[in-house]
Structure formats: structure tokens, C-alpha cells
Amino acid sequence: MRVYLDNNATTIVDPHVFEEMEPFFVQKYGNPNSLHSFASETHQPLKTAMEKIYAGIHAPREDSVVITSCATESNNWVLKSIYFQYILTGRKNHIIVSEVEHPSVIATAKFIESQGCRVTYLPINHEGLIDAQSVRDYITDKTALVSIMTANNETGGIFPVQEIGEICKEHNVLFHTDAVQAIGKIPVDVQSFNVDYLTFSAHKFHGPKGVGGLYIKKGRELLPLLHGGSQMGGLRSGTLNVAGIVGMGKAMEQAVDALDYEMTDIKEMRDAFEDELLKIKDTFVVTPREKRTPNTTLISFRGIEGEAMLWDLNCAGVAASTGSACASEDLESNPVMEAIGADADLAHTAIRFSLSRYTTQEELDYTLEVVKKAVKRLREISSSYAYAPDGHDSKL
């Protein structure tokens, strides 16, 4: 049996999405900008897709939702353009990001920092969350932008974007949120969020890879990152990814339709699964369930290094994830676990299970058995487990 529980990394493309995309490869392959029927037959499908995308995030028509190639592009675009428009010109000198943003925000912030911008990396609290009021402490009259994600990819922790948005508005500071992990999991509404910019990516909600978007509020226009043939109103040039946009439209529509199922049924399945995992001795979950996206569990198994766990899970066909030590090329421990500053010994033991609307109860039952076996085997090998503070032996 193969079980996919790594849906925060990417998701299966919904067959209906795939079906809608298919005609735009071999039959309707025209460039939308051309002047002939091959072009014009793509216009209505593109329009429909854009309507669905706008509706999905409650974007008013006068605002822009620019289609990009991925969330990384959208995030880079916001930070770099703010650098060009506000920092380089000397109007402002500072931005604020959370310390657990996606690398596409952190690395870009580091880059503009190297170019002379002051950057505050906002710390998370013991629950792995951001205190909205703490943003207030760092805002100055020279702050150009606050960029805080809607939900964290590792823990699923939901950050108080609405409140942060209000604080930014109050101080006349631009606000960007990376909502990649939120679409299809919790309601996303650019108006109630008080955001100026919002990033999303199709492949996180059962759409295709290689297409994402950036919501830009009217009057908050950015400089183009890609100059060229003036597609997307000149904001983002490049031949339109027709199939991708059509696919993202359909995926957005379905994600919104499935939101209830995700927030009730999937949440129930996740909660029950997590309850069972927590019955295993010496397991820990950091962020409270009610403050998390409904599909995500980040859990530590004391005495077991994360990659070793992934290896055993994978041998049994279960796909999960870890941001910890050995799994990533740069050999760092899980950034969220480090930021929480909890028990250093646990920083390398976190495993993330992320469900989707395609996850079945049978798959979770199977995974649970696999996890129990892996925990038993690896704790027997573990040099540190027998020395756990409350003196448990190495048997489950």
C-alpha cells in the first residue's frame, strides 16, 4: 500500500482539473495574444478561470490577481519590488517578516538586507504562532512592508493575518501574506485579511505545478519583475500559461467547494489520527489543534531522528516529511522547532503528516500501524531513548 501524507509539499492534481486542462495542449494551443481563432478560442476559458480565481480569494474586480509561475516568484516579486520602490529610493528603510516564513521570503529578505534594507525577523511564541500585537513593537515610520504567512507549512499554525493587517493599515504600512498553505484549508478573503498582497500556488490545492498567483490591491501596484511583451497588464510578461491558468481556476473552484469537507471531515480524521499517534509514549505536538490548518500534524517522537523515521515509513510505502537535520541538503534542524526553542533534543525528531481531501481512513489506519512498528524498531536502536528524562525503557 502506498499512502501520500505530504500534501503540504504538493498535492495530487484533481482529475477534473486535469480534464479541463487537457484541450489546451494539443487542440487549443494558440497564444492568447495572437490575432486569429487559435488565440480567441482560449479567451473565454481564461476569463472563466480568472473569475473563479478572483472569487476564490474574494478579490474585487478593480484589484489585480496576476498569474505567476509559482509562489516563490510571487514572494520574490513583492519583496524585491518593495526594495526598488521604497528602500532604494530612500523613502523607507525597513521591512518585517516572521522568522518562520517560507525560504522564498526569508532568502529574499536576506538578499535585500545585503543591499542595505533593515529586516526584522519576527519571532514566534511557544505555540509556534505569531502574536499580532508584537508586530506593533517593531513597526517604525520607516517600515515599508510586513510579510507574514497565513498558515505555516511545517506546523499548520494559523497566523492572525486579519489583526496584523489592521495594525499595518493603522500605521500605513503595506502588508503581504503568503497564503500558500491556506487556500482550500481555511477561508481566504483578501478583504477581511486587510492585505495589499497575497501569494498562492495551484499545486498546493490539487492544481498543476508551475502556476501560482499574486493578489495586488488597487493602488499598490508593483514594478514588474519580468519585463517583456506586457502580458498581465505589463505587470508580469511572458506568454500566458493557458492550461495552467485554466487548471488553477478549476482547482480554486473545487478547493472552495471542498472547504467545508476539509474543515469538518478531514479535521476529524486528522484529530483522530493525531490522538492515536499521541498514545505512543513520548510524543509531542506543539501548536494547538484549533489554531492549525485542518490537515496538518507535526509530531515529535522522542529518541528518533526524523530522517530515520522517514526511511522506515517510506519502506512501508508511507510518504511524510521532516524539515529536520539529515533530510535537507543543508543539514539544519526543523526551523520551527528551533524557533520555538522548546526542547533542543526534539528539534531533530519532528515528522509532518499532511492530509488532503483524497486521504482515506484506511490509509490513516495503515499509517498508524507502520508508525508504531517504526517507532519500536528505531527506539531499540536509539542511543538516547533509554536515557529519556523520566526513565522510560526502550519498549513501547
Binding site: 531522528e305 526511511w311 519502506c315 537535520a325 539529515c326 534542524s333 531533530h348 531499540e380
Partner: protein
Amino acid sequence: MGMDSLIGGTIWDEYSQKVQNLMNNPKNMGEITEEEAEAMGAKLIVADFGAESCGDAVRLYWAVDPKTDIILESKFKSFGCGTAIASSDTMAELCKGKTVDEAVKITNIDVEHAMRDNPDTPAVPPQKMHCSVMAYDVIKKAAAQYKGVDMESFEKEVIVCECARVSLSTLREVIRLNDLTTVEQITDYTKAGAFCKSCIRPGGHEEKDIYLVDLLEEYKKEKMAKNADNMATGGAVSFADMTVVQKLKAVDRVIDNNIRQMLIMDGGDMEILDIKENGSHIDIYIRYLGACSGCASSSTGTLFAIEGILREKLDENIRVIPV
């Protein structure tokens, strides 16, 4: 870069079959109890290395015959990823039947070679080499415990890159002999820095006393000191006695080495227009380019910095005049 580094595969694809088998079924996993050691007439040694908070920890058990110093039985426990488990298992296996002195000679490279499927293909990807280093360190710790000596006494050399086992003295010599200026060159010559990369600069997986970038800096300073000496001792003609062409070249060199980079980073640059003797002064006429022209500090801070450096490097009587 190049094709292979553009779409990274998973590190798991690079584990040898032997490594994978050992990860699934380590042969020497477990403990040796006091009773078991006693039954063998052996002394029990238990050594720990690494820390869970760093992501890797290993415990090595030895039953050593006190008469012959031979390791009769060797087992391990490990908190770590699969390659840490496989390396520890291989290390424990290699210890068996050896005397303690022989065991100390086992290096991480022996451990890694023993896990290869064929002699020419590494058993683990570069960033996993540090797992085998830990296996090597724990042996030294066990041996030190057995002999009642300090662990450091087994290492005569300071090792900078533990993955490739390159010593400080080797690195210094190679850098000097070949006039190396980049980390990539050091890696090409010695393999140091090719694996887990911790030894290149601070911030990697392992903390070091000295890094490759420190050695490069050290050599650079040494070279600069030498040049300065040459100038001071009249190894070259003094600046005032140079021809105009020589002066221009000398000024250009100092600007290239010390100043230009600073200006370029701020989006500017400068050029030398002329050099004239004016009484006891040597006047250097320059023109600012790019962002420097019109920058407020170009007639104050930046100018004083340029003048200061030229005076220090070439002649005290230099004056810099922006045109």
C-alpha cells in the same frame, strides 16, 4: 552548476545497497551488559559521542580482553539518520577482533569504504560523510577510556576537514605552495570541503576551531605583509621616484585592491585622470563614475578614505583631488 546540480535528486538515491541493507538490519545494534563482558573475561567500555540536540549521537560498547587488548565484542546504539546507523554498525563490525591500538587507526574513510558496493562509487552522498566521522570519533573516545588517557592524545595532527581527513599543516602547505585564493581551489587540491562543508566557514553542521576561509585569509594577510615589506625595504622603487606610468600603475593597483570594490557595491566607480607633483605634494586627479558622482560623501568621507589608503600604501604626501 551543470545539469546534475540543476534538478537535485534525493540523497537517498545516493546510498549504496550496503548502506540501505545496514539501515534496515544493523548487525551489531544493541548493548553489552556488565555480566556479558564478565562472562567473556573482558573489560566493558561504554563510550558516547555526539548529542541528540545536534541531530546525531552514538554509543559504542566494547568488551576488551585486558590481557591482549583485543576487542572481543563490539556493539552500538545510535540516535541519527539511516546513514548514521549504517556507519555505526560498520564501525562496530570493523572493531571486532582488533586490538584497541589497531582500532584507533580505523578512520571514517575506512568506514565509508567498507560500505561501498564497488570501490569507485562513494557509499553515501557528500553531505552524509559527517555520519562516518562520528563513528571514528567514538572509537577514539572508547580507546581513551580503556587506556585512561585523553581522547586528543590519539590525534597528533589538527584535522580541519574531518570528512576527507585533511590536516591543518597539509592545508597551510598546499595553499602556500600553489598560491590558492579560493575554497574551490582548496577542494580541488585536497578534497577538503568537498563533503559536509562544515569546515568551509562558520555556520555549518559542525563547529570548528579554524575554517578554510580563515586559512585563506591568513595566507592573504601573509602575502600582503610580504609585499609591504618589499616596498618598505626598497625592494621596489619608492613611489616618489617612480615614472608617471609606474605611478599610475601603482595607484591603480591600490585602488583595485582596496577601494574599487567598495565603490562598485554602492553602484559607483572612479577613474584616475592625472598625477602631478605640486611642491612637496603629489596630487592625484580622479573622476567619480556612476552613483559616486554627485554622492554627498564623494567630497568628504569617501574622498578621505581613498586619500588615507593611498597615503598609507604609497606616499604620505599624496593628495586626492576629484575633478
